[in-house]
């Protein structure tokens, strides 16, 4: 090769390499890592000196926390005519109901769906009717829903070896033996769904407080779901993967770490019917359950108060409680907030308080927690950490030939939990200007503590790699070509794990019954984490207060 040819060849190779590098650079997108509530939350843990209070609020009822429990309590108080209450938002306003927005497109950064409520979930049905989501027959066997909010077809699909199948566990994708076992499992849980205890209550009801206390069913809480499946002879790999998936999806841990009662409760408790949707349908919105948070906040008249504004409540204050104690006339909370010039603090005194924050926080905030019968060291359920990752896309990535995007898209065998499409419920024919895919990952492959530690240590690239695993399996590099940015929310204390024995946690039982100056309301009280449970405790506290 002479010199000129060499230069030419070198030039061509260089250009190719440069355009290759350019291509990969083009495929990069900005990724933002958020740890909701972590900074202020750790303030509590580390107990720094607090600045002297700047303001003092007095109210009748103080609600600490603005997640599902806090908002439901506020909604119920407002509904029953209360106007003197204050909600302190906490380090993460709206908690697991938080959502984000990209242009017009909203997306969940936490919870995203609500199954049609069963007969026992009277509180949810009443709420949905109040919020205009149930149009008729809220407490009837089959209410009539506003169909815009019932998940639209196609609901879900499963990627198996590079081919999408309709549904989460399609019979077409199972070997014959597997599908027989699959049927056996589902008729088994259908029976359990109808089973009732000697107290007349359903064996598996939502809220868990409405379930039968019969020892026969409670005995299932003594072993793990995986052990139960083994005992009952459920061995099909696909079925086991699917059941493990449901545990990770709902409880943040695999079937081997979750109580058999909880594993079955997932299937047997969801018996919500509707006149205009199929059994087992779910309600969802672009912002996920953030839509319920919006509506609840509106119905409760929570208007963000200006710090200098002395007009009476109802209102919502920005801030995190660092201490809550009982005083002679009632309760007193010291709260901090991030002001323009650094941390600021204020005091709220009230007749009663609803502590609607996670129990790991309550353990630090509430003075003399042990006096309520709850010893954090002993009774605090393990907390499963979660990664909720939103990919803002300027257009839909190309699907495999013949495949149609569903609302929930799952990859068989993956350790992630698939992705949901925020614009799925849009009434529109043309493509939206933007869509957001939300990918979920419960770090079930590590112990909760190790996972939290890993999350603080991991580089953005490592987090992104984990967060985008299913999307990359589904779309390859085409994902990045459509992606404007990604936002990963690290929820270190995402949800309480219903480990074997969770039903007999005495500390939780004690907190549920607290009815003095301080009441407790949080999903954690149920020992597992779904919207209905959190709302149940919020509702119950508010009812207790307003009927007193």
């Amino acid at each position: 090769m002479d010199r000129r040819n060499f230069l030419l060849a070198a030039g061509v190779t260089g250009a190719a390499a440069a355009s290759g590098a350019g291509f990969w650079r083009w495929l990069e997108f900005p990724t933002e890592i958020r740890s909701p509530g972590r900074q202020l939350g750790h303030l509590l843990r580390d107990r720094q000196a607090n600045p002297p209070p700047r303001a003092h609020y007095r109210t009748d009822v103080l609600i600490l926390g603005s997640g599902a429990a806090g908002l439901t309590a506020a909604w119920r108080l407002a509904k029953s005519g209360h106007s003197r209450f204050i909600v302190v938002g906490g380090p993460e306003p709206r908690g697991n109901l938080a959502s984000g927005i990209a242009g017009e497109a909203r997306y969940p950064t936490g919870a995203h769906y609500l199954p049609l409520p069963s007969r026992e979930s009277t509180h949810i049905r009443e709420m949905l009717e109040d919020l205009g989501i149930i149009l008729d027959g809220a407490q009837a066997e089959r209410p009539y829903y506003d169909e815009r909010h019932v998940v639209h077809a196609p609901e879900s699909r499963l990627l198996i070896d590079g081919v999408w199948h309709d549904g989460v566990l399609p019979a077409s994708a199972l070997p014959a033996a597997g599908s027989a076992e699959h049927q056996r499992f589902f008729s088994h849980v259908d029976e359990l769904a109808l089973a009732r205890g000697s107290d007349g209550k359903r064996a598996f009801a939502m809220p868990i407080a409405a379930s039968s206390a019969d020892a026969q069913w409670r005995a299932l809480d003594a072993l793990s779901f995986a052990a139960w499946l083994e005992r009952e002879g459920y061995r099909s790999a696909a079925l086991r993967w699917y059941l493990d998936y449901t545990c990770r999806d709902d409880y943040g841990r695999g079937a081997d770490q979750v109580s058999a009662y909880a594993g079955l409760h997932y299937f047997a408790s969801r018996a919500g019917d509707a006149r205009n949707a199929e059994r087992g349908a779910v309600l969802t919105w672009p912002a996920g359950l953030g839509a319920l948070a919006d509506r609840l906040a509106q119905a409760a008249g929570l208007i963000r108060a200006d710090r200098s504004d002395a007009r009476p409540a109802p209102r919502l204050l920005d801030g995190t409680a660092v201490s809550l104690r009982q005083i002679r006339a009632g309760v007193e909370a010291l709260c901090v907030t991030q002001g323009a010039g650094g941390l600021e603090s204020y005091v709220v005194t009230a007749r009663r308080a609803i502590c609607a924050m996670p129990l790991h926080a309550a353990g630090r905030v509430v003075e003399a927690m042990q006096d309520f019968g709850f010893d954090p060291g002993e009774h605090l359920p393990a907390q499963a950490p979660w990664l909720v990752s939103n990919f803002v896309l300027s257009r839909f990535p190309a699907e495999l030939p013949g495949a149609t995007l569903a609302w929930d898209n799952i990859v068989l065998g993956s350790s992630s939990l698939g992705y949901v499409v925020s614009t799925h419920q849009d009434l529109r024919v043309g493509p939206p200007p933007r869509t957001v895919f939300t990918a979920y990952h419960a770090l079930a492959e590590m112990s909760p503590g190790a996972a939290r530690e890993w999350m603080t240590r991991a580089s953005p690239a490592e987090l992104l790699e984990l967060a985008s695993a299913d999307l990359r399996t589904a779309y390859g590099w085409k994902l990045a070509a459509c992606c404007e940015r990604a936002e990963i929310a690290l929820r270190g204390h995402g949800m309480a794990v219903p480990a074997p024995g969770y039903l007999s946690n005495r500390g939780l039982q004690a907190l549920r019954e607290a009815d003095g100056r301080i009441l407790f309301a949080h999903g954690d009280l149920s020992g597992y984490s779904v919207f209905e449970e959190a709302a149940w405790w919020g509702d119950r506290c508010a009812r207790r207060i307003s009927s007193a």
């Binding site: 040819n5 030419l8 506003d146 169909e147 815009r148 019932v150 998940v151 639209h152 077809a153 196609p154 609901e155 205009n276 949707a277 199929e278 349908a281 190309a398 030939p401 149609t404 849009d426 009434l427 529109r428 024919v429 043309g430 493509p431």
Partner: protein, 503 residues
């Protein structure tokens, strides 16, 4: 002798080169419309690529000239020969970006063709022909070849063989030149054996495709159209193709016939007049879809109508139907009427947020063939629509065929009923569609089919109207569900019903 062979090659090579260019140009203006732009950009790209090829040819070493020439012939034969077939298939069956494929192919072929003549010249020069004579001869035959093809292509080849087979034929000619060169110069080629094998393989491939290409092309054209394409655009939402055959103007959206000017009056009279004749008090009318302005044309015939709002997703569609002369002649310039407001927005989005009220609504959406379109025929959509229409006003919905897709049709009726409407289903015979269905609906108003029409009609009279609201025994009403977003049963009905018809 040898010289003569090379010169003959020049003739063939040149004709092949021009043929590929013509094929690409013709094919792209056929498929994409706008022939002037297509042709000139294809030619530009091709000539530029030839320049690149000519430049690259200097990097071929003198001793390799013949071997590379043979390689190039085989490659051009393969690429050029298959180009038309490949483009057809890409266009009709693949999601691959057609334009990118087109220009990439044209460029690649151009580069290869551009190398041919310089290499032949060098080969001849090395065999000591006199240079001045050589240049003259080569270029003469080059241009002669071009002339031959430029006449043969439009007069004989394209009409007789079609673009696809013409391409394959020229491909085989290129390969033949390659093989012939190998035969004649086998002594001066380093590895003639391997090249013969390769050449034979390419030749066999092209021949094979030539034999089945008829079937391939019918397959590829299944979604395409027989008639002359007057206009074709791909908008962000859909592909609009307008064809003309004699006095018949047709609009296809994504390959589906929307209307034929021969009988669209039947469709649009049936769609609009039973409702509007029954609402002489109607002042404001809503038209959803219908960006062709034809339903609008019928609506505007009523002097009592003071304002019409037309919502169509596709701005390109309404622009086309308000600017193109043959199309405005067809819709009587309805889109430019001062009573009309055109809104280019997703109808489903618009209706969710609009607060206007109307006395009548004409809903003329594409058939519910996908989950996205199915949302426009759902209970929630009709509930939103109900909020926009006066309680005694009328809504009409084009509802696919009660004859071919009975379950889909009656599911739309059930859906309107579920959303709180009283319904009056009817149908009309539109030759280019077959038996076609509509549903008239009202929240509270009474309705009976009009006995006469205030404005002159081509299709409708009292007799025909009465017949439209009666369903023959061979069009019974099946038991079907309303279309809920949760299961979109309509989309399944539609797919299954039509699948049975088309098979």
């Amino acid at each position: 002798m040898i010289d003569r062979i090379l010169i003959l090659s020049v003739f063939i090579v040149a004709s092949c080169g021009l043929a590929y260019e013509l094929i690409a140009g013709a094919l792209s203006s056929y498929l994409l419309g706008d022939s002037v732009l297509q042709f000139s950009s294809i030619i530009g790209c091709y000539l530029f690529a030839m320049g690149v090829g000519a430049h690259l040819s200097k990097y071929v070493r003198d001793e390799d000239v013949l071997a590379r020439f043979v390689d190039i012939e085989l490659l051009v034969g393969l690429l050029g020969g298959l180009s038309a077939t490949a483009l057809f298939l890409t266009f009709s069956w693949l999601a691959a970006p057609f334009r990118t494929t087109l220009y990439a192919l044209v460029f690649a072929i151009g580069v290869l063709v551009g190398m041919e003549i310089p290499l032949v010249m060098r080969a001849l020069h090395a065999r000591s022909a006199q240079f001045s004579e050589l240049v003259a001869k080569v270029l003469t035959f080059d241009y002669l070849g071009a002339l031959a093809v430029s006449l043969l292509f439009p007069l004989v080849l394209a009409p007789r063989l079609g673009l696809s087979r013409t391409g394959l034929l020229f491909g085989m000619l290129n390969v033949a030149v390659g093989l012939w060169t190998i035969r004649v110069f086998r002594k001066s080629l380093p590895r003639p054996g391997a090249q013969v094998l390769r050449g034979a393989a390419v030749f066999a491939l092209l021949g094979g495709v030539f034999l089945v290409s008829d079937r391939l092309v019918t397959w590829a054209e299944k979604g395409l159209f027989g008639d002359e394409i007057v206009h074709a655009v791909s908008t962000p939402y859909q592909r609009l193709v307008i064809t003309r055959w004699q006095d018949d103007l047709r609009l296809y959206i994504n390959g589906n016939l929307q209307f034929s000017s021969r009988d669209e009056h039947r469709y649009h009279e049936a769609l609009v007049h039973p409702a509007l004749e029954s609402a002489p008090w109607a002042r404001s009318v809503l038209v959803l879809g219908g960006g062709d302005g034809l339903a609008l044309r019928e609506v505007l015939k009523y002097p009592n109508v003071e304002s019409v709002t037309l919502v169509d997703l596709d701005a390109e569609m309404t622009r086309l139907f308000s600017t193109s002369a043959p199309l405005t002649a067809l819709n009587h310039g309805s889109l430019a009427d001062p009573r009309v407001t055109v809104i280019n927005q997703d109808a489903a989005q618009w209706i969710e947020h609009s607060e206007q009220m109307f006395d009548a609504a004409i809903v003329d959406f594409p058939d519910p063939s996908s989950f996205a379109l199915g949302k426009l025929y759902s209970v929630p959509f009709y509930r939103l629509l109900a909020r926009r229409v006066a309680v005694n006003g009328y809504v009409v919905v084009q509802s696919t065929s009660p004859y071919f897709a009975p379950r889909a049709y009656w599911s739309i009726v059930a859906t309107l009923a579920e959303a709180g409407f009283r319904t009056w289903p009817y149908h009309a015979y539109v030759p280019s569609f077959g038996e076609w269905g509509f549903v008239l609906a009202s929240l509270q108003g009474p309705f009976s089919p009009p006995q006469h029409y205030r404005i002159p009609m081509r299709f409708l009279d009292a007799e025909v109207t009465r017949g439209m609201f009666a369903f023959a025994p061979d069009m019974p009403r099946p038991a079907v569900e309303a279309n809920r977003l949760n299961n979109q049963s309509l989309v399944h009905y539609f797919e299954q019903d039509w699948h049975r018809v088309i098979r």
